[in-house]
């Protein structure tokens, strides 16, 4: 009997909730569309940490909703539309492939604010935001170039897209700077997330002499493979992956979306939200460098932190000339720094990387 009353209570509660009323003092509703499960331990996990930070910051003044595992297909447009219909005031779409669906939905809901991660299309109610992960890659490259004894650094790439290529170039340039003999071996996994394949890729690289493995895929499988092999260094990707510290994980690049998400939510609450294009790095705190462990020699750690500070303050740009493209042609002259346009569409390797970009 108790059960039945409980059930009925649930039903009435549900019915009242379904009403399309949006009172003035309603909490600000913030929605998130995720490409993977929140339990992926990497990309989506960090976005969800950002969502939780928004909840913590604003308490009852916000309500957050999310939808996970949304494919970058027709399903995305529906998921975003339903979120807008449900009364969301601000919606973060957290994967590149949501770009056109976000634009399409934004046209239909001019009063809802949209924030699309890693894309380049904007509108009056659509902002874009992304993180300069390559700044973190430069620091990784610096540490990796110092640590390697075999002079072979393995790199697991996901897809040959500008984001990944930029990271490889940044890491390579800075590894090369401290260790002219360094060589990059690159494996394209053609997946963002397939732990077994990532583990195999890491093993293949280690078997071929790599003693540092960098990854641009999202699972911690390469960390585990490196741990098992012993004597191999890795870096956390997207997430701190500190469970593998102090070895093999000697540092990490952390996507810290919380400050941005909190700021944007605040802007919506204050009515000051405007369409912007944000590409932040270490300075504003969107890219975090996870603790550098004691497995890294003290002097290298010091240099790395100095590099981090220089990048954060804007005093140093990781792509500062002279830099040649892979074919030997000049990309950046002495002292010249890369412009954002070229970086965003980067589809070439720099000189010295002995590999080809698929296609």
């Amino acid at each position: 009997m108790k059960m039945i009353t409980k059930l009925l209570a649930g039903a009435t509660l549900g019915l009242t909730m379904a009403g399309p009323v949006l009172a003035q003092d309603d909490p600000t509703k913030v929605g998130f569309i995720y490409i993977g499960p929140v339990g992926d331990g990497g990309w989506t996990y960090e976005h969800d940490q950002g969502r939780l930070a928004v909840e913590e910051e604003f308490g009852d003044a916000v309500e957050t909703v999310y939808q996970e595992n949304v494919p970058e297909s027709a399903d995305a447009e529906r998921a975003i539309t339903q979120m807008a219909l449900s009364g969301a005031d601000l919606i973060f779409t957290t994967s590149f492939g949501y770009m056109d669906p976000t634009m399409a939905v934004a046209e239909k809901f001019p009063d809802v604010k949209f924030e699309h991660a890693t894309g380049y299309k904007r509108a009056d109610n659509v902002s874009t935001y992304s993180a300069r992960f390559y700044e973190g890659r430069a620091i990784q490259g610096h540490i990796a170039g110092n640590l390697t004894e075999s002079n072979i650094i393995g790199y697991i790439g996901s897809f040959p897209i500008p984001e990944v290529i930029r990271g490889m170039n940044a890491a390579f340039l800075h590894a090369k700077k401290v260790n002219p003999d360094v060589e990059f071996k690159i494996v394209w996994a053609f997946t963002w997330f397939d732990p077994a394949k990532e583990a195999d890729a890491a093993k293949a690289l280690i078997d071929q002499g790599a003693d540092v493995v960098l990854q641009h895929t999202d699972s911690t499988a390469p960390q585990a493979a490196a741990q098992e092999a012993g004597g191999v260094y890795t870096f956390g990707q997207a997430s701190d992956m500190s469970e593998y510290a102090p070895m093999p994980r000697v540092s990490s690049i952390i996507d810290d979306w919380a400050p941005y998400y909190i700021a944007r939510t605040q802007a919506v609450m204050d009515g000051t939200w405007e369409s912007t294009d944000t590409w932040d790095g270490i300075g504003p705190g969107m890219v975090g460098i996870g603790e550098i462990t004691d497995a890294v020699p003290a002097d290298v750690k010091e240099e790395a932190l100095a590099l981090k500070d220089a990048i954060a303050s804007g005093e140093y740009h990781p792509f500062t000339g002279p830099i040649n493209k892979q074919d030997g042609s000049v990309w950046l002259a002495e002292g010249e720094t890369a412009d954002d346009g070229t970086l965003l569409g980067m589809d070439f390797f720099v000189e010295g990387i002995n590999a080809e970009i698929p296609n």
Binding site: P37, G39, D40, G41, Y45, G154, K185, I186, V187, W188, F190, F193, D194, P195, A196, K197, A199, D200, A201, K203, A204, L205, D207, Q208, G209, A210, S219, T220, A221, A224, E243, Y244, N354, A355, P358, N359
Partner: protein
């Protein structure tokens, strides 16, 4: 090219192949009994999460493997009841089992994301592991690699040499005739399905406890489908299952090694190579006219037929 070390390559292909070997071997037993269970992926992922959870909580990977086998078998009983008692279509039920297993596993696994695996010691067999070349290839693996090889032999022996195997094959070849001879068709099939479930569970736990090792949602990433393919590829023969699994695992590992070695073959072709080679070998096998699919495979059995 010369940076590829064949010894390490073989050693790592054995590890990469073990999950699909276990699952494929189990599925072969199921199919030999005349049942097609397409839910291998669902049972593997359930085994992966249960094995990991029990392994972490008890600190013992061995206990994790045992639990994974039990979980796989338990889940397979859902399939057995629906297809054997309620006589539903096996293809659809198997697909449903995969859907069900994927959902179930991620619910169970929520608290285990980002938790470290308990670790599983390798058997460093004294003397043998020091043999040059063969030592590192053959004698420095974890116990599950050896268990999977032993299971191949056991399954082969049971099927080919024992009365149990004879009954199983009779049921799979012609269930009406087997029934007429007085064999308990449904009971035999229940046992076969449970065996298949247990071995898929073991395969899944190998992924989460040894090969990766950690729990992440959807981590078997299609290994169950590959296992199904290998059963057909092997024409339902245990030793060919071993060959097929190692071949597939070998090409997967080799293509990553070729990439790392800077091979000039375009990456797109390399990454589709395991599937293309499987098709090619399959065609070669079928040209030689060797099929051997059990006669009653996938058909509904009802005693009054």
């Amino acid at each position: 090219m010369d940076s590829i070390n064949p010894i390490l390559l073989i050693a790592s292909l054995m590890v990469a192949s073990t999950p699909i070997l276990l699952a494929a071997l189990g599925e072969m037993v199921v199919e030999k009994a005349g049942v097609l269970n397409l839910g291998v992926e669902g049972m593997m992922i359930t085994g992966a999460v249960v094995g990991f959870a029990i392994g972490v909580n008890s600190g013992s990977s061995a206990l994790g493997f045992v639990s994974a086998a039990l979980a796989g078998a338990a889940l397979s009983m859902v399939f057995a009841i629906i297809t054997q008692v309620l006589l539903a279509n096996q293809v659809a039920t198997g697909l449903g089992l995969t859907l069900f297993g994927l959902g179930l596993s991620s619910l169970i696994g929520k608290p285990y994301v980002g938790v470290k695996a308990p670790g599983f010691a390798k058997l460093d067999i004294p003397f043998l592991s020091d043999i040059p070349v063969l030592g590192p290839i053959l004698f420095r693996h974890d116990p599950m690699v050896y268990l999977s090889l032993i299971l191949v032999a056991v399954v082969w022996y049971l099927l080919a040499r024992t009365r149990v195997g004879l009954i199983l094959r009779a049921v799979g070849e012609n269930h009406a005739a087997a029934h007429a001879l007085g064999y308990k068709v449904v009971r035999v099939r229940f046992a076969a399905i449970a065996t298949g479930g247990a071995m898929a569970g073991l395969g899944g736990a190998y992924v989460s406890l040894v090969r990766v090792p950690q729990w992440v949602e959807g981590m078997t990433a299609g290994a169950g489908w590959i296992a199904l393919a290998i059963v057909v590829f092997a024409s339902w023969r245990p030793w060919r299952i071993l060959l097929g699994a190692y071949l597939f695992g070998g090409i997967t590992v080799l293509q990553l090694n070729l990439q790392a070695a800077g091979s000039s073959i375009p990456v797109e072709y390399l990454s589709m190579s395991p599937y293309l080679v499987t098709i090619l070998v399959l065609v070669i096998i079928s040209v030689r006219g060797n099929h051997g699919a059990p006669g009653s495979l996938g058909r509904v059995f009802h005693a009054s037929q």
